[in-house]
Each structure stands twice: as C-alpha cells, then as structure tokens.
C-alpha cells in the first residue's frame, strides 16, 4: 500500500507522502467528497487506482459506494487498459494515481488514442510544492509534458474551490468527446488542505 515512498515524512508539514490505508483521514478535504459526487453523477462505475495519500479520502468514499467497483492495480498502465475494456462493455471509469504513475502509462495510452477511448485520470501531484523527497521531483516536473505528449489533455487545479468545476469539466470533456483528460491536483492543494494537521 505504501508505494515509492519508503522514507517516512520527517515533519508533519510535508505529510503529503503515502501512508498505510488505515491512516487515511477520517474527515478529509471537502474537495474529495465533491470529486466523489461528480464521479457519481457521471455514473462512473470502475475506480481503478494505485493508491496515493492525496486520494485516500476519495478511495474510501469509492469503496463505501455500492455503485462503484474499486480495482487496485499493480501498475498504472493496467488502469488504462482496464478502463478501455470497461468502455467496450458500456461502463465509465476513472483512473486515480500520483504523478509518478503517469510515466508508467505512456505506451498503453496509445490504446486510448488510436481507438478514441474516453479516459478520465485524476493525478495527485508530487515533486512540486514543498516536496521533501527529491526522487519525486523528476517525474513530477515532467508529468504535464508526458501527458500532453501521449495525447492526454492535462488541466491543473490548485484552488480547492476549483476542484469540483474542474473535475466536472474534465468528465464532460472526456466522456462526451471522447477524449483523454487528466486533472492534476497540485501538491499545494493537497498539502494545504488534506494533511495540514
């Protein structure tokens, strides 16, 4: 469950790294509940993910939602193929990952692109605002360029009030296109709201 973050956080203020799932915040940020509501309104059924602490609340909400099937992956590219299969079968999905997982998806995204499958990805960013682990920085910095190069429209959100409209807009763009769209949830957003205490 802890992934790519074997080093524990040295201080609470940098507590954006992964933790075991039971440590997920019970309250959590309001925007996570708003994302869940948007996904629910869009009839998203398959929630594919490699866990990230920034997604912990949304993962809990998805697990608690009888209309959603949570599918943990061993690597993020599985989710790209999984959700293509879901769409073939008439279901919508969402793919949750942290920014380090974006690089794992590159070749599989050719499936999304060449077949014009819709794809909605929610990426929690690492390696930017106040990152304590330098190993997160290279992939975090290249995440937007990698997504765009692979044909995925990347849209960044830093303001908590913008999360809901951003995910609504991305879902509409993805599923009515079809397009591949990623919402990048900035580390400032996650750090500022989810784990400040």
């Amino acid at each position: 469950m802890i992934r790519r973050n074997a080093i524990p956080d040295p201080a609470p203020m940098t507590a954006t790294s992964d933790r075991p799932e039971p440590a997920a915040p019970t309250g959590g940020p309001a925007w996570a509940d708003q994302i869940h509501a948007v996904l629910s309104a869009n009839r998203v059924r398959q929630v594919a993910l490699v866990p990230d602490a920034g997604h912990a609340r949304l993962i809990d909400l998805s697990r608690a939602d009888a209309a959603m099937r949570v599918v943990p992956l061993t690597t993020e590219e599985e989710g790209v193929a999984l959700l293509a299969g879901a769409w073939l079968g008439g279901e919508k999905g969402v793919l949750l990952m942290q920014s380090s997982g974006v690089g794992n998806c590159v070749n599989m995204l050719s499936l999304t692109r060449i077949c014009a499958f819709p794809l909605l990805i929610l990426v929690t960013m690492r390696g930017e605002w106040g990152e304590f682990n330098p190993w997160q920085v290279p992939m975090g910095r290249s995440t937007p360029a990698v997504l765009e190069a692979a044909g995925v429209i990347a849209q960044r959100v830093s303001d908590p009030d913008e999360v809901r409209p951003a995910v609504e807009a991305a879902a509409r763009l993805a599923f009515s296109g079809p397009h591949a769209v990623a919402v990048l949830l900035s580390q400032r957003l996650i750090g500022a709201k989810a784990f400040e205490d």
Binding site: R45, Q46, R69, V71, P72, L73, T74, T75, E77, E78, V80, A81, L82, L83, A84, G85, A86, W87, L88, G89, G90, E91, G93, N107, M108, S110, L111, I114, C115, A116, F117
Partner: protein, 195 residues
C-alpha cells in the same frame, strides 16, 4: 515431449467454436491473427498494440458485463509484459473471465527470440501464486477440448496456458482501425456505439 506439438490456429479455432455470445479480446501479434483466422466476429476486439494490456482489458470488460463470458486470448510475450495484471484479476475474482495464453515460448513478431517461458518461467504457476484458483497448462488436444469447455462454462477467473509449436504461419490480418473496432464491438454488444 513425444506428443506432437499443438498448432495454435487449431487451438484458437477450438476455443472459439461455439462461442455463443462470448466477448473476446486478443493480444497483439499472433493471437490476433489466430482469432481472425478462426473467423471474424463483431464481438472480437483485436489489439495491435497495448502490449501487456490484453488480460486486464478483459477484466474491465468482464466487470462491465457480468452476464457475458469474456475471453482474453493472448501470447506468452504479451502476458509476460503484464504479469501484474494477474494479481489484479485474482483480487477482483471475476467469475466470467478467462485468460488463455498461447505459449510458443517465442516473440513471434520480432524474429522468434525466446521469451522467459523458454527459459523456465511458468505462467500458470504465476497465475496460481497470484490467487487465481482455476489454472490449467495444456499440451494435448484432449486438454484443449477440456479448456474450451472450461472457458465457456467454468467459474472464473480461469487461466489457461496452451503450449503450442513455434511455427511461422501465413498472416491473417483483421481490421486494424481501432476506432472502427471499438464502434463495431459496442454496437453489437450495447446496440449503440456511442454514449
């Protein structure tokens, strides 16, 4: 090793005979050609890329269509690139999904170089260790017949490895326009390609 080696086109034809409403995803390279050689079908989705994705694409389809049988038919090289997906499938326990690997122990598209299954890797063992309970390794025609029945009627998830001859065969190329294949599949399954 005295028994004659199985021929992949015959194996594919046996697995797909009497398929009924089964949904089929094929892994890139020879399995795509083998399925096409067995007869094109609106409910075949042929992969021409996305290496490592066939089995887990089958999972997404199986979860979306729990009342349909789903077969992911792929090769050893393709399966080796997505080994983790066997753990993902095992965790979801889809009762309607079968994954069958036509294992010639070669990368057929790139010059017949040996894959890891030629060097000792046991895909069925991997699947079993991941938690897939119904696992078969097949080396003869009777085994293929039994596997075909299992794929059509057995409780999934099912994982089968069929050891086949590393023969070079004439190409049988299905459509490779992915968007068209997607629309065709959805129209046949859902009655509408969009929405």
């Amino acid at each position: 090793m005295s028994a004659p080696l199985l021929r992949r086109r015959e194996v594919a034809a046996t697995l797909l005979a009497g398929r009924g409403e089964m949904l089929v995803v094929t892994g890139l390279g020879s399995p795509t050609y083998d399925a096409a050689a067995a007869g094109d079908h609106d409910l075949n989705f042929y992969l021409w890329g996305a290496m490592g994705g066939a089995a887990v694409m089958g999972l997404g389809l199986a979860l979306a269509q729990p009342r349909r049988r789903v077969l992911a038919l792929t090769g050893d090289g393709e399966m080796l690139m997505g080994l983790g997906s066997l753990a993902t499938i095992a965790a979801q326990r889809p009762e309607n999904l079968a994954v069958v690997v036509l294992d010639n122990e070669r990368y057929g598209e790139t010059g017949m170089q040996p894959t890891h299954t030629a060097l000792g890797a046991d895909l069925a063992g991997v699947a079993a260790s991941c938690g897939i309970e119904t696992v078969r390794t097949v080396r003869d025609l009777a085994g293929v017949d039994a596997l075909a029945r299992l794929v059509r009627e057995g409780r999934g998830p099912i994982f089968g490895v069929v050891k086949v001859d590393a023969e070079k065969l004439p190409l049988v190329l299905p459509a490779r326009d992915g968007t068209w294949l997607k629309h065709r599949f959805r129209a046949a399954l859902l009655g509408s390609a969009t929405g």
